[in-house]
């Protein structure tokens, strides 16, 4: 177990952790703003991957070129889903909310399989292919770019939420819906915005992943469980919390897998997660 190997594991862990963070940010935002657990969040990731794939397969456009368009399309989808479906369950009992988003998840997966077949797709020969060797480290270029992209998008979201009027309005709605309404902030617009941003974030994560991860209708399932852990660990509603928790989970998963054994990697993540929750139930950076 040389230092090189440990460093490699750390680097790989950070890189995949950044992806987890990006997926989790959207999820935590929806929960923070409207107290709804979105089980269909992994499907936004999946749709982002497919958007990237079809752009590449049909128009030979590199995923990085189509990224803004895919993000916009997913933003629109998030808003549309809010207005068509979620708006009806905003004040419904939690069980109804769970069933709705769960059903949405099944629907989106089913539609993806229906239209695009269950076959695995992949994007080869993108701009970013191959790996970089730095000392003893092997870093895949797609993974590096994905990590960088995740940092940029997280920064953008954070800046939006804390430095723009609209973002602050969103935070206000999250803090107290009624008070915000009294201040003239339309909570439905805010909710739609939250859904749009969440879908776009997951979609961007999907585009970044598509440069190195196989694309298939069920791909959301692989990431959603970890996303829930990250959201919980970082604290529901905290974007910064989701960011740091994502990185932490990625690092623990890879290094734990290396040091203890790969078959235990998820178990280690979950045990540590339980530990944090017992000590600090609101998560690392959650609001009390």
């Amino acid at each position: 177990m040389t230092f090189d190997i440990l460093l490699q594991a750390l680097a790989s862990g950070v890189l995949i952790g950044l992806i987890y963070a990006l997926v989790a940010i959207g999820l935590t935002m929806i929960f923070g703003v409207m107290d709804i657990v979105n089980f269909a969040h992994g499907e936004f990731l999946m749709l982002g991957m497919y958007g990237s794939f079809w752009g590449f397969a049909l128009f030979h456009l590199d995923p990085l070129l189509t990224l803004p368009l895919t993000a916009l399309m997913l933003f629109a989808l998030g808003v549309l889903l809010y207005r068509l479906l979620i708006v009806r369950i905003v004040d419904a009992p939690m069980v109804s909310q769970i069933f709705t988003t769960f059903g949405l998840m099944l629907l989106l997966r089913g539609l993806a399989q229906f239209f695009w077949k269950p076959d695995f797709r992949s994007i080869e020969n993108s701009f970013v292919a191959g790996s970089v060797q730095w000392g003893g480290l092997h870093l895949g270029k797609p993974q590096l770019l994905a990590g960088a992209g995740a940092v940029v998008v997280t920064g953008l979201v954070y800046w939006f939420l804390h430095r723009t009027r609209l973002g602050v309005a969103l935070e206000a709605t999250a803090a107290d819906k009624e008070a915000a309404r009294l201040m003239g902030i339309d909570s439905h617009r805010m909710f739609a915005l939250a859904w749009g941003i969440a879908a776009a974030c997951a979609g961007v994560a999907g585009v970044l992943l598509s440069t190195f991860f196989p694309i298939f209708p069920e791909v959301g399932a692989s990431f959603i469980l970890i996303a829930f852990v990250v959201v919980n660990l970082g604290g529901f509603g905290s974007v910064a919390g989701a960011f740091w928790a994502g990185i932490l989970v990625g690092v623990i998963e890879v290094m734990g897998g290396l040091l203890v054994g790969p078959e235990y990697k998820l178990a280690i993540v979950l045990v540590l997660f339980l530990g944090v929750l017992m000590w600090r139930p609101r998560g690392l950076m959650g609001k009390a």
Binding site: Y20, P118, F120, S131, F213, P262
Partner: protein, 441 residues
């Protein structure tokens, strides 16, 4: 409150009368049905319903789709014939002659890759769709639960693709498996390494195992762990990983650290793809990747990885180049190609063969009674010349396992699967060692 006795008594009398009418009409109804039943038992049915339990959605849906195509082709051949392929069973068409031309009707059920759903779907097929037999289920863990249901209901269950050895160790009466199982395949791999060592003088002493951790992977791991030292190799590292991981970096790093000459890997498609990509990303390649079918032989494997898939050796149950020496395989594949624009592969060929074996048994039974079908299955003896598999035939032992089956090994060269073992069926020499990533064009 006092209830007048007379009122009470007449209530009771009325109740009795009602009950009496009910019983009488019930008996009458039963006799009518019984008569119909007796009449039906005498005339063979016009159609024979067989339940097909496969993953039509979920992560293995692409395998399920291929299998479904093969089964529909087989049913079509049985019902409508295959002119020009006299070697195939039932090539004359017209349904099952033993049941006076009864047609095969396949009833598909999707188990979504879940053992629980597999069990409930099996039950539904038996109780609601009234199938005379079941075939399925691809995944060993789903086959395990679904066949338990069939055993309880005493309905024959034919398994054509699941390779976990434990399935036949249960010694079920109603479970029959045509495909060879993992223990045989894994032993084959060691025989291959031994013969290859003798032939080419290579040193394959350090072996690492890298398997997913559902029923299939865990059993293979246990078996390999036992056979590696038994065959004189060194067990460099035994790795298992959770299926459908989002990343395999720690696993590949652990493999790198173990410096194996051979990596024996068992993965379904998603993990196989991710593993190969991670190997390339981290610059890791042993001298031989000896894979255990499943993901490595899925049509998507080469399609997705392109030339990065080259030189992987995997056990297979079937290969297209077998057609070179076998006219029946060639013709059947042409038929499949014509209908579905794709070739047979190990899964579709075994599913096709499975249905043919079931149909053969039902035909010989001359009835749809489960026990008759079961006895016919026990007596199965189909020669290899009537199969599109590289087997010596189909004959079940007392545990329900076909003892005449055989696996082969193929290597991906020039983007195609080419048979490299047994050496008498091989169409090319083994490429050893695998050229490193930076050595390839």
């Amino acid at each position: 409150m006092k209830i007048p006795v007379t009122l009470h008594f007449s209530h009771a009398l009325r109740g009795l009368a009602h009950a009496g009418v009910l019983v009488l009409s019930g008996l009458f109804g039963l006799s009518v049905l019984g008569g119909a039943q007796a009449a039906r038992a005498q005339a063979p049915p016009a159609e024979v319903r067989i339940g097909m339990l496969y993953p039509l959605t979920g992560a293995a849906a692409s395998s399920g789709a291929e299998i479904r195509n093969a089964l529909e082709l087989a049913a079509d051949i049985i019902n409508n014939g295959a002119p020009g392929l006299p070697g195939l069973p039932f090539a004359g068409g017209g349904g099952l002659p033993g049941l006076k031309g009864a047609r095969i009707r396949l009833v598909f059920a999707d188990h979504q890759g879940s053992p629980q759903v597999g069990a409930t779907e099996a039950e539904r097929l038996i109780t609601h769709d009234k199938v005379v037999a079941l075939q399925g289920a691809y995944f060993s863990n789903v086959t395990a639960t679904a066949s338990m249901v069939a055993e309880r209901y005493k309905v024959p269950f034919l398994n054509a693709e699941s390779s976990s050895a434990s399935l036949t160790r249960r010694r079920f009466r109603w479970f029959f498996r045509t495909t060879p199982h993992d223990e045989q395949f894994v032993r084959d791999q060691f025989e291959f390494l031994r013969e290859l060592g003798a032939r080419k003088g290579i040193d394959a002493s350090r072996i690492a195992t890298f398997n997913e951790n559902t029923l299939w992977g865990n059993e293979t791991t246990r078996l390999q762990g036992r056979l590696i030292p038994e065959n004189g190799h060194v067990l460099a590292r035994q790795l298992t990983y959770p299926a459908r991981s989002t990343q395999l970096t720690s696993e590949v790093q652990a493999l790198k650290a173990a410096t194996p000459a051979v990596v024996m890997q068992s993965s379904y498609l998603g993990d196989a793809l991710l593993a190969m990509k991670t190997y390339k990303e981290l610059g890791f390649l042993p001298q031989m990747i000896l894979a255990n079918n499943a993901g490595f032989t899925d049509t998507e494997f080469i399609r997705t990885l392109g030339r990065d898939a080259d030189f992987v050796i995997t056990r297979e149950v079937w290969a297209l180049d077998l057609a070179r020496g076998n006219a029946l395989i060639r013709q059947a594949d042409a038929l499949f190609q014509q209908r579905f624009q794709a070739h047979f592969n190990g899964n579709s060929a075994r599913a096709f063969t499975g249905l043919m074996v079931l149909a053969d048994a039902i035909d010989r039974a001359g009835s749809t009674e489960p026990e008759a079908i079961r006895r016919a299955l026990v007596a199965t003896d189909i020669p290899g010349s009537r199969l599109i598999m590289p087997w010596q035939g189909v004959k079940f032992d007392e545990t329900g396992q076909n003892v005449l089956g055989r696996g082969i090994l193929v290597q991906i060269v020039d983007g195609r699967y080419q048979t490299v073992w047994p050496f008498d069926l091989a169409t090319r020499e083994v490429v050893w060692p695998m050229p490193r990533w930076d050595q390839r064009k």
